[in-house]
C-alpha cells in the first residue's frame, strides 16, 4: 500500500465513528491515558480501508522461554559451541537448518530466516516485552504489543470475530499480551486454561430461541434509548454488546471437533498442534492476529534433550500449518512468525544446557509479504556475535508491519505526542520482504 512516510497527513475535523468507538472503548480501561480520543493515527481512511481489504493475517508461534538458534535456524555443526546436531540442507539451495527441523527444511520456500537479531535484553520478562512491543518500555507510556497493533490496523469494527486471540495454556512464563494505550478494545481474547474461551457458550438453561428473543428485545430498548440520549458512552456500550454477541457466535471456531477427522489426524495430538489448527480456523474466519505460545524452551539443563522434544513439536505443527494454509489459499494472506524472547548461549553449561542469550539469535517469517527461501544476516563461526545484517527488535517489528502492508512509521497521537508504530529509527529488513 502507499505509505504515509511522515505520518503527518491532514487530520479530519470530525471524528469518524470508527475512531470514536475505538477511542471510547479504549478509554474505558486505559486509565493512564488522559485523552484517548487522540490515539488515532494520522492517515487517510481510504488507505486504512484498503489495508483491511487485503485480509492480511498473522499467526505468531511464540516459543516461550527462548529457543536455541543453534538447534533451529542457525546451526553451527562442528563448532565448539555447535552441540551435537547436524545441519541439513533445505529445499532452498544454500540454506541449511538444524536436523531437528526436517519437515520445515522441505518447506523453506515459504520462509525467511533472520539470523542476526541482537536484542540485548536476556531477561525473560523484559525480553518478552521487548520482542512483543518492538521497543523498550517507557514508564510514561503503555505500548501495545504486535497483536494489538495488528488488531487495530487490520481488524474490522463490524467483525463478529475477535481481533486478537492469544493461546497460552502452559503456566510457565505465561503472558497475556497487552494493548497498551490502544485500550481494551484491542486486548487479546486470552485462553489460558483450555483451548476454548470460557463463558462464551450459551448456557443450556437458555434456549436458542430465548437467546435471540432476548437480543432482539435488548435491541429495541437500546435503539429507543439511544435515539433520545445519543452520546459516546452509549455508543460504546452498544458496540460492546454487539461484539459480545458476535463472540458468542464464534465459539465454534475453537472447536476442532468440527474439523474432518483427516484434518485433525494430520495435525496430531499435541496441544501445540491442536492450537495451530485452532489458529488456522481463526485466520480463516478473518481473525487478524492469533498468538499460539508453546512453552517452555528455557533449556538451562539438558538443552539437547529439550530441543529434541520441542523441535519435533514445532517441526510437525508448523509444517502442517504451512501446508494447510497453503492448500486453502490462506498462506499468501497469512504471516506465520516463530519468535521468542531471546535465543540461547553459544556456551554449553555443565548441565548440558544453554542459558539466555540475546546478542545473536534467530527468528523466522513465513507467508504473507515475505520473500521465502531467504536466510538473512549472519553470525560468526561460533555464533557468538552478529557479523552481518544486525537487526533490533524494532527492526523486526517494522519488518512484520511492512510484510502486512502497514506503514511502520505511521504515528499514533497520544495526546500531542506522536508515537510511530515501530520505534523511532527502526527499519524493515527489505531483503526478507516480497
Amino acid at each position: 500500500m502507499a505509505s504515509n512516510i511522515s505520518g503527518l497527513g491532514p487530520q479530519k475535523n470530525g471524528l469518524s465513528r470508527r475512531r470514536f468507538l475505538s477511542a471510547a472503548a479504549a478509554g474505558v480501561t486505559a486509565g493512564s491515558v488522559a485523552d484517548m480520543t487522540a490515539i488515532h493515527g494520522l492517515r487517510s481512511e481510504a488507505l486504512a480501508s484498503e489495508l483491511k481489504k487485503q485480509n492480511k493475517r498473522v499467526i505468531l508461534l511464540w516459543l516461550a522461554g527462548g529457543a536455541s538458534q543453534f538447534e533451529t535456524w542457525d546451526p553451527k555443526p562442528g563448532a565448539k559451541t555447535g552441540g551435537p546436531f547436524r545441519a541439513i540442507p533445505t529445499n532452498v539451495t544454500g540454506i541449511h537448518i538444524s536436523e531437528l527441523l526436517p519437515e520445515l527444511a522441505k518447506r523453506m520456500q515459504h520462509t525467511a530466516i533472520i539470523r542476526s537479531l541482537n536484542t540485548k535484553i536476556a531477561d525473560h520478562g523484559t525480553g518478552a516485552a521487548l520482542m512483543e512491543c518492538g521497543r523498550v518500555g517507557d514508564p510514561g507510556v503503555k505500548y501495545p504489543d504486535i497483536g494489538a497493533v495488528v488488531a487495530r490496523e487490520l481488524g474490522r469494527l463490524e467483525s463478529k470475530v475477535p481481533d486478537y486471540v492469544s493461546l497460552y495454556t502452559s503456566t510457565e512464563g505465561r503472558r497475556k499480551g497487552t494493548s497498551g494505550f490502544l485500550g481494551a478494545r484491542y486486548s487479546p481474547m486470552f485462553l489460558s486454561e483450555s483451548m476454548t474461551p470460557p463463558n462464551i457458550v450459551r448456557p443450556d438453561i437458555i434456549s436458542e430461541i430465548d437467546h435471540h428473543d432476548r437480543a432482539a428485545l435488548r435491541d429495541v430498548l437500546a435503539k429507543r434509548f439511544t435515539t433520545a440520549r445519543r452520546n459516546q458512552a452509549v455508543d460504546s456500550h452498544m458496540s460492546a454488546y454487539q461484539r459480545v454477541h458476535g463472540l458468542m457466535a464464534s465459539a465454534d471456531l475453537f472447536d476442532i471437533e468440527r474439523e474432518p477427522e483427516s484434518v485433525r489426524n494430520r495435525y496430531g495430538s499435541s496441544q501445540f498442534a491442536q492450537q495451530c489448527l485452532i489458529a488456522r480456523r481463526l485466520v480463516e474466519a478473518d481473525v487478524p492476529f492469533v498468538k499460539v505460545a508453546r512453552a517452555w524452551w528455557d533449556s538451562h539443563g539438558q538443552n539437547f534433550e529439550t530441543h529434541q522434544e520441542l523441535c519435533a513439536d514445532l517441526d510437525h505443527s508448523m509444517s502442517v500449518l504451512l501446508d494447510d494454509l497453503s492448500e486453502r489459499g490462506l498462506l499468501e494472506h497469512t504471516l506465520v512468525i516463530t519468535l521468542g524472547e531471546f535465543g540461547r548461549t553459544p556456551g554449553i553449561n555443565a548441565s548440558l544446557g544453554r542459558d539466555h542469550f540475546a546478542s545473536a539469535w534467530s527468528c523466522s517469517l513465513s507467508g504473507a509479504g515475505i520473500r521465502g527461501g531467504v536466510a538473512y544476516g549472519k553470525t560468526d563461526d561460533e555464533g557468538q556475535r552478529v557479523v552481518e545484517g544486525e537487526a533490533s527488535a524494532g527492526d523486526l517489528f517494522a519488518t512484520i508491519l511492512a510484510a502486512l502492508g502497514i506503514d511502520h512509521q505511521h504515528e499514533y497521537m497520544l495526546g500531542s505526542r506522536p508515537i510511530p508504530l515501530a520505534d523511532f529509527g527502526t527499519n524493515p529488513i527489505r531483503d526478507v520482504l516480497a
Binding site: G65, P84, E172, W296, G301, Q302, E305, A350, L352
Partner: protein, 350 residues
C-alpha cells in the same frame, strides 16, 4: 558401560573396602571438552574417554601433567557417548549413529559402521567375555554386534518410539549382566526391559515411572528418563538410575534417584532419593560382593555416592566439581575415575 577388566597385571593394587566409609576427591584435571563416557585401558594408568569434540581420548594418569589426547586421526561426526573395551580394541558410539572399532594401542580405526543406528547412539555395553557389544539409540532399538567381526547379530525393538505424550522417546541406557546371560535397557519413560541375550526374549519388564519427569502443565516437556543401569555381580539385582520428581525442569533440580530391583521377582528392593546432591544419576556400578552400589551424576555440580545394599542407605558421598557423565572403577574399586563437563576426577574410597 561395564566395569573395566580387572585382569591386567599391575604391581600395586589396593584392596577394595568392604564397605566404604568415605569417598574423597584425590585429584581433578581438566578435559578439552565434555567427557561423556570412560573406560579403563589395559594398564591401570590409562583411561579412554569419549568426548564432545567428537574424539576418543587417551588419558595417561602416570604423566606429570595429565592430559587427554585424541587417539588416531579419525573422529565421529558428533558427540561420542558410548565407549567400551573389547579385548585389545575399543568400540565407540556417537550421536552420529556410528560405531567405530579402534585399535586401543595404535588408535587406528579397524572398522567403522556409519549407520549402526538411525538416531543417536546413547550407550554401549560389552559382554563379560568381550564377544558381544550392545548398543542403544534413539531409534529405540537395541542392537547386538559381534565384537570381533562387527557383524550385526540382532536388533530388538519393543519400545514405543513416542512417549505417552506423543513426543520422541529416547533409549538411554544398556548393560549386560556379569554372567553374560541378561541384557537390560532403559528408556525415557521409565521402562526397563531385561532380555535373554542369547534368544532376545524379554525376561522381565520393570517400570520406574517417576523417572519420566513429564511436566503436564507448567512447561509441557520432560527432562529425565532412565540414564543408567547396573547388574549386581550375581546378576540378581538390577539398579536403575535417573532423577526423581522435579519442580523446575529448566534445570536438573530433581532429587537424584536410584531404584534397585530383584528383577527376576519384579520386586523393588529400594527406592533411593537424594535431595542433597541433586540431578541425574548418569552411571551406576556395584562394588565387590554387591555390598555397595556406586552412583554418579549431578546437576551443574557433580557427585559420587556410595549406597549400602543391605539397607539402601547412603554410606559415603562426595561432591565433584562439575556434572559427572560417567565413571569407571580402577583396577581395584577403591579408585573411581569420573569424566564430565570439561573435567575429570580421581576419587579414593576408604
Amino acid at each position: 558401560m561395564m566395569p573395566s577388566d580387572e585382569s591386567a597385571a599391575e604391581p600395586q593394587v589396593a584392596a577394595p573396602p568392604a564397605m566404604p566409609q568415605s569417598v574423597k576427591v584425590e585429584k581433578t584435571f581438566g578435559l578439552p571438552a565434555i567427557g561423556f563416557c570412560v573406560t579403563q585401558g589395559e594398564a591401570a594408568t590409562t583411561l579412554f574417554a569419549g568426548m564432545s569434540d567428537f574424539a576418543v581420548h587417551r588419558i595417561d594418569l602416570a604423566a606429570e601433567k595429565i592430559e587427554a589426547v585424541p587417539i588416531g586421526q579419525e573422529r565421529h561426526s558428533s558427540y561420542v557417548t558410548g565407549l567400551v573395551r573389547a579385548g585389545d580394541n575399543l568400540v565407540s558410539g556417537g550421536y552420529d549413529g556410528a560405531l567405530i572399532w579402534w585399535n586401543m594401542a595404535s588408535g587406528e580405526v579397524i572398522r567403522r559402521v556409519e549407520s549402526a543406528h538411525s538416531k543417536w547412539v546413547r550407550m554401549l555395553a560389552v559382554s563379560p567375555d568381550a564377544s558381544r557389544i550392545a548398543s542403544v539409540a534413539d531409534d529405540m532399538t537395541t542392537r547386538l554386534w559381534d565384537a570381533s567381526s562387527g557383524d550385526l547379530v540382532a536388533t530388538w525393538g519393543d519400545y514405543e518410539t513416542k512417549t505417552p505424550h506423543d513426543f520422541p522417546s529416547m533409549l538411554y541406557a544398556v548393560t549386560i549382566s556379569p554372567d553374560g546371560r541378561w541384557l537390560a535397557t532403559g528408556d525415557k519413560t521409565g521402562i526397563v526391559l531385561v532380555r535373554d541375550l542369547a534368544t532376545g526374549e524379554i525376561a522381565a519388564r520393570l517400570e520406574t515411572p517417576i523417572m519420566y519427569t513429564w511436566d503436564p502443565k507448567a512447561r509441557r516437556h520432560s527432562i529425565g528418563g532412565i540414564r543408567s543401569l547396573a547388574f549386581s555381580s550375581d546378576s540378581t539385582l538390577l539398579a536403575v538410575g535417573g532423577m526423581g520428581k522435579v519442580g523446575n525442569i529448566d534445570h536438573l533440580e530433581g532429587s537424584s534417584r536410584v531404584e534397585v530391583f530383584r528383577w527376576q521377582e519384579k520386586v523393588r528392593l529400594y527406592e533411593i532419593e537424594d535431595n542433597k546432591l541433586k540431578g541425574l544419576v548418569e552411571a551406576l556400578r556395584f562394588g565387590p560382593g554387591d555390598a555397595w552400589l556406586a552412583a554418579a551424576g549431578g546437576d551443574n555440580s557433580g557427585f559420587v555416592t556410595i549406597y549400602r545394599m543391605d539397607d539402601g542407605k547412603l554410606a559415603a558421598q562426595e561432591k565433584v566439581g562439575s556434572h559427572v557423565h560417567d565413571f569407571a572403577f580402577g583396577q581395584s574399586p577403591d579408585t573411581i575415575y569420573t569424566v564430565g563437563h570439561n573435567q575429570a576426577t580421581i576419587l579414593k574410597l576408604a
